[in-house]
């Protein structure tokens, strides 16, 4: 039996690592999630100690920000003064580095290398045709069976090793005081944080691979410590990572805060001016279509451009459209999560033929089977003896030709790809069933359908209905990109959100649902309103409508909308890519070029989350830096909708933001390193170069313009909510987790107090609020010349 103390110690020690997500559903999460209950400062200190990681931007990044005027001098001086630092800001810029960064030899080098060999072999998800033997028995047992053949260690017989991982741990820990367990485990779990993070992920989400081939941290430690003891390595050696010197850490934090404060001031100014501007009162007759987009920062740009093309209103809503579901695709039959990982999936969605399209679906299914077969066929021909040799000779010329085509004309190939793609959306419709733990099939009840549709309108504060309402999910299109899924919808667990959008449209078009909404909740959707699912391709800014089932009466409306969307794609891509000519061709090229390492910027630059009506931001260029969730405080009397937004989307945006932050400040540790030397392992992750630790985050090319020049500004998320302050207070008091995220400074919160003339107030610790607008007045009186400025500082 395993010592309980060991189990507890492992659980405590595992907090040093986060979750490593597989790249086929790459959720950007906080690598320091184990420390979210501590303050940001404390958590970063721990991470720096255990992982040897950098936790604040490098000095040259601050310098870049300073040179670009992203750090307000006034804010910086104020913060410096508060911390007793009296010299001019410029003096401190040079002091942001305290010693030259250097590398030292890894004290566990041999042990780490042997471990990565076995971890990669065991955790493979189908890249190798010849799997590690006995994997079904679990990591420790399967390694134990092979250990005697491994000449990296000197284990003579299998029986020299204890039969189970529990016994193995007891054996290696024999003679070590129990108080040291946690530290030992921390040390060894943190030695390969990427791999141990993936073990974490497999256990937490109980994946099919985990079910078939189990591995947990006990297995990991049992194997690792057994090898260490065999090689005579001292498992209790002292931590060697020294944290960066304290004075610099403090200074870096000050610079970071000043930078963040500068951004917050910009946002406050922006919504302030909106307030004073005259509101446009459009009546329902003039709105041709309403489009709902994901809260994703990339929606901001396209929404602005769509709105400018006609009588269109846009909304922001979490891209999973409020449906906690798994989606099973038609082609491979694999179940994918399609809602935020913080939610349990309540539904499973599959594809069913539309009425009268059974034959077409049948044909598509045969085609899909054949595609699967040809994939298998090619793999088999390449792998087998001697066909591998004959295959190369027979196909070499074709590979050569394809190589020329992909190098020279990627955008033309993209057009071909789109043309020949079999879009099942045109012949299928979504079919939703509850995932029930109890036996027996039951279909989705009317109440459930109504609840899903209603909650969407509630959260967004919907008032009127246009004849066309489009739910637009989003997905990216990139080629040869291991991180493709990191560009898909974060709210859908890194899947494209189109299926959620299609399902919501289907539910909202359901006459029974509409009737129930009308008599139960007094939400009456006009008869001529039609809902359509759609997808925004974030790489090319194209929006595709899944309109195969719309009534004929709406054809011309849809045709007009499509024309506007093409226009919007043109201007949006022009702005995004900073070019006037051929912006769409360039975007298509980026989408399909195999040599493109920066096909699009994903959520880089994200820094703010605005929860409120579109009127606050309409017509403003937010530079793709802000998540936008529609919300109308007047319609949400009890604050339920706001609570939902803060519990769900706000937490998801915090994950994304923290992930981008840490991937940027230490791309080697928290990110994926540069794409150009990545080596895919096991179909789910990347390594650098010859092997080593699994990489846990976004690659350099997702956050940096060049090796040294930043693109993403590493700032913690600033949330702005338009609602009465008391309502926000109540929600925070009822949700300890949310309050602690704020108190611990993982995110910032500002409220535009609807009960106090829309004054913007800023949360500071323990439910205290400050008034930035007051600060602003203070600031207006600030010295304008350099001399005055220095005088004041003195």
């Amino acid at each position: 039996m395993i010592n309980n103390n060991i189990k507890t110690s492992i659980a405590t020690a595992s907090k040093v690592i986060g979750n490593t997500w597989p790249l086929y559903s790459f959720v950007t999460s906080n690598p320091l999630s184990g420390y979210e209950t501590s303050t940001f400062t404390e958590a970063t200190k721990q991470a720096s100690k255990h992982l040897g990681a950098r936790v604040f931007p490098k000095a040259h990044v601050f310098k870049q920000a300073w040179d670009n005027n992203e750090i307000d001098k006034y804010e910086l001086s104020k913060l410096l003064k508060e911390n007793g630092l009296k010299k001019s800001p410029e003096t401190y810029i040079s002091k942001l580095t305290c010693y030259k960064e250097k590398t030292s030899e890894n004290p566990f080098h041999v042990l780490d290398v042997i471990m990565t060999k076995w971890l990669a072999a065991f955790m493979d998800e189908g890249l190798a045709e010849w799997q590690m033997p006995n994997k079904t028995k679990g990591f420790y047992k399967s390694w134990r069976q092979l250990a005697k053949y491994d000449n990296d260690v000197s284990i003579k017989r299998t029986n020299d090793l204890p039969k189970t991982k529990e016994e193995a741990l007891n054996t290696v820990l024999n003679g070590i005081s129990e108080e040291d367990y946690t530290n030992i485990f921390k040390l060894h779990i943190a030695a390969l944080p990427g791999w141990t993070g993936y073990i974490n992920h497999r256990n937490q989400y109980d994946t099919v691979w985990q079910n078939t081939y189990p591995i947990d941290l006990e297995d990991y430690l049992a194997v690792r410590l057994s090898i260490a003891s065999n090689l005579g390595i001292d498992i209790n050696s002292i931590l060697t990572n020294k944290p960066e010197c304290d004075s610099v850490l403090q200074l870096q934090l000050i610079f970071l805060k000043a930078w963040e404060k500068t951004l917050q001031n910009t946002i406050v100014e922006l919504v302030d001016t909106s307030k004073s501007e005259k509101k446009t009162n459009k009546t329902i007759e003039t709105v041709d279509a309403q489009l709902v987009f994901c809260i994703d920062t990339r929606s901001e740009l396209i929404r602005r451009h769509v709105e400018a093309k006609g009588n269109y209103q846009t909304y922001g809503y979490a891209g999973f459209f409020g449906i906690a579901m798994d989606y099973q695709d038609l082609k491979e039959g694999i179940n994918r999560k399609s809602c935020p990982p913080i939610l349990n999936s309540a539904y499973k969605v599959t594809e069913k033929p539309q009425a009268g399209k059974e034959e077409a679906v049948n044909r598509l299914e045969i085609k899909n089977d054949r595609d699967t077969f040809w994939n298998y066929f090619f793999r088999r021909m390449k792998n087998m003896l001697p066909s591998g040799f004959g295959f190369v000779e027979g196909t070499g010329v074709f590979y050569g030709l394809l190589m020329i085509a992909r190098t020279l004309v990627p955008s033309k190939l993209y057009a071909v790809k789109k043309k020949t793609a079999q879009n099942h959306e045109a012949i299928c419709e979504t079919h939703c069933e509850p995932v029930t733990p109890t036996v027996g099939y039951h279909s989705m009840t009317l109440d459930e359908k109504v609840a899903i549709v209603k909650s969407g309108f509630d959260l967004m504060g919907w008032k009127t209905f246009a004849p066309l309402i489009v739910f637009t999910g989003h997905g990216s299109h990139t080629a040869n990109n291991p991180f493709g899924s990191s560009l898909d919808c974060g709210a859908c667990a890194a899947s494209p959100g189109r299926h959620n959008a299609r399902l919501l449209a289907k539910l909202a078009n359901d006459n029974e649902v509409r009737a129930a909404l009308s008599y139960k909740y007094n939400i009456s959707i006009p008869n001529n309103t039609v809902f359509i699912g759609a997808e925004h391709n974030t790489t090319t800014d194209e929006i595709v409508l899944f309109d195969s089932q719309i009534p004929v009466s709406h054809n011309s409306l849809v045709a007009d909308l499509k024309a506007s969307l093409v226009e919007a794609q043109k201007t949006a891509s022009q702005q995004r890519l900073g070019m006037v000519e051929k912006s769409i061709t360039t975007a298509n090229k980026k989408a399909n070029s195999w040599s493109e390492t920066r096909p699009e910027w994903g959520l880089a630059k994200n820094a703010a989350f605005i929860i409120g009506s579109r009127e606050l931001t309409k017509g403003k260029d937010l530079d793709g830096r802000s998540f936008l969730h529609s919300y109308d405080w007047e319609m949400d009397k009890e604050g339920k909708a706001l609570e939902g937004i803060m519990q769900g989307p706000m937490v998801v945006t915090q994950w994304i933001n923290n992930h981008y932050y840490f991937s940027t400040v230490d791309n080697e540790t928290f990110g994926g390193g540069t794409k150009i030397t990545q080596n895919i392992t096991g179909k789910f992750g990347v390594l650098q170069g010859n092997g080593g630790d699994l990489r846990m985050g976004l690659p350099l090319q997702s956050v940096n313009k060049t090796d040294t020049e930043m693109y993403h500004q590493p700032l913690r998320l600033s949330v702005l909510i338009h609602a009465p302050l008391e309502r926000v207070n109540t929600i925070l008091l009822n949700n300890e987790h949310l309050k602690s995220l704020l108190d611990n400074e993982w995110i910032y919160l500002m409220v535009m107090d609807a009960n106090d003339k829309n004054t913007v107030k800023r949360y500071s610790k323990n439910m205290n609020w400050t008034w930035p607008t007051k600060e602003k007045k203070e600031r207006k009186a600030r010295p304008s010349t350099k001399e005055e400025f220095e005088k004041e500082l003195a």
Binding site: G52, L127, W130, K242, D369, T407, I676, F684, N690
Partner: protein
């Protein structure tokens, strides 16, 4: 401004190689028989231009790819210069006749490649990998120099052509020792066991450099062996090549099956393919070997350049059961035989009972394997099962034959490029070993041998010092 943007280094390199490539192709098509000599130092013949075309093709494709792939990379310029240097040194090697330029360019080729492996000088492990590769390449150069200088000394010749012309007059022990050293140099270059570790440790190079390495560097051995075909015949070392190549082909192919990292998997595949190519040399088919190395270059460069496509969600799968109905088996046999017939007709190989029957057999089994998979597939209709296999093998064999015959034509200048030998016991025994390997793989026996798994896993690991050696502090 536009001018400046267009004429940056990566674009210039791309244009440079594209122009060279087009010029070489034009020369091949319209140049007739090519034969130039520059003193005793260089000689350019049709074969030279053929290899130049291939090398400049890869130079152009890879520099074009790298110009966007490496955007923002601190060592982008250095990388482009190394690539250019490497490609040019290969070109110099191909046209070299004088012993000094021949050996010198071989050495420089290795230096450039090692530099590409360690191009990111900020990265400790990359520097280690670069040192490893450099050590191997120096060793390879030393082998080659020993072999060639030995011949040069004994024949009193300073040019490769001169040496080759004199080979038959040299004492046997000289040709034998020289052959062995030249073969050793070839094995280092192609990363054949026991010289395979540098290739498995070379993933620190940016992806396009790997493509160049696998399409333009490792197959230097094939060119080397083809140039010294006369020597290998006279020293009777072809059987040795055949056995080394054949064993490598089989073992590396098994090793490939257990790789979990995509780039190492591709590297094992390269080693197997190089083994096969050396086996073709051992059979006396240097032209087939050259055709193979070019085709493999296309294939492997493509797979490296698209190696980011291997991320995919999947579910655990059990190996498929082997079952076939009698009628399906008949079809497999018929198509296998037809494939062989087509191959023999189009390439002229295997017509008489010589070594080439071996190559024909491989084609026949490949066609059989393809047919086997197709006839068993449920989603295909009966008609498709009957039509698809012939369409595939006619296309595959047809295009190959065209290519092979083209290469053979262009290699006409090379002495003894094709000299089919009579089958001996060695080939027959080895043919049987090959078939056994095929059946072990087909039937999946290997899965039940854990010992073999660990041995092959360990033998294919990169050098430890090229992984996790350093930590940030």
């Amino acid at each position: 401004m536009v001018f400046k943007r267009f004429f940056n280094l990566p674009n210039t390199v791309t244009i440079f190689f594209t122009v060279l490539f087009v010029a070489n192709i034009l020369l091949l098509i319209f140049g007739g028989k090519i034969s130039y000599e520059i003193e005793d130092v260089f000689r350019i013949n049709t074969f030279t231009v053929l290899i130049w075309s291939v090398v400049t093709f890869f130079g152009a494709v890879i520099s074009r790819y790298a110009s966007s792939y490496l955007t923002g990379f601190k060592f982008h310029t250095k990388f482009m210069l190394m690539c250019t240097g490497f490609t040019l040194s290969v070109m110099v090697f191909i046209m070299s006749n004088h012993v000094i330029s021949f050996l010198g360019s071989w050495l420089v080729m290795g230096i450039f490649m090692a530099k590409l492996i360690g191009v990111d000088s900020r990265w400790g492990e990359a520097k280690e990998a670069s040192k490893v590769a450099q050590r191997f390449f120096f060793t390879g150069s030393a082998f080659l120099s020993t072999g060639v200088l030995l011949l040069s000394f004994h024949s009193n010749q300073l040019t490769i052509d001169g040496i080759i012309a004199q080979v038959n007059t040299l004492p046997y022990y000289v040709t034998l020792i020289a052959s062995i050293f030249i073969i050793l140099a070839a094995l280092v270059q192609s990363a054949i066991y026991p010289f395979h570790r540098w290739l498995l440790s070379a993933m620190t190079s940016p992806t396009p450099a790997s493509a160049l390495m696998h399409a333009g560097f490792v197959n230097g051995s094939g060119i080397l062996l083809a140039l010294f075909a006369t020597l290998l015949f006279s020293s009777n070392t072809l059987s040795l090549l055949f056995i080394i190549g054949g064993l490598t082909a089989i073992v590396a192919q098994f090793t490939k099956l257990l790789q979990v990292n995509v780039k190492q998997k591709l590297a094992c595949s390269t080693i197997a393919q190089m083994g096969f190519m050396i086996m073709q040399c051992g059979l006396g088919f240097f032209n087939a070997a050259i055709a193979h190395l070019i085709l493999h270059g296309f294939y492997k460069a493509y797979l490296f350049l698209s190696s980011g496509e291997e991320i995919k969600q999947s579910i655990p799968q059990k190996p498929l059961e082997l079952k076939i109905k009698p009628l399906q088996a008949v079809l497999v046999l018929i198509f296998g035989a037809l494939g062989a017939l087509l191959f023999v007709t189009l390439t002229g190989k295997g017509a008489s009972l010589d070594n080439s029957i071996f190559l024909t057999l491989i084609v026949s089994i490949t066609v059989g394997q393809a047919t086997y998979n197709i006839v068993k597939e449920k989603s295909l209709s009966t008609l498709q099962k009957l039509v698809v296999p012939p369409v595939l093998f006619i296309a595959g064999i047809g295009v190959y034959a065209l290519f092979y015959n083209g290469v053979t034509l262009l290699m006409a200048d090379l002495p003894m490029a094709v000299v089919p030998l009579q089958i001996t016991t060695v080939e027959i025994i080895f043919g049987i070993i090959f078939l056994v390997g095929f059946f072990i793989m087909k039937l999946g026996f290997y899965r039940n041998i854990p010992w073999l798994y660990v041995k092959l896993l360990n033998v294919s690991q990169p050098y430890k010092k090229t992984i996790l050696k350093y930590k940030n502090s």
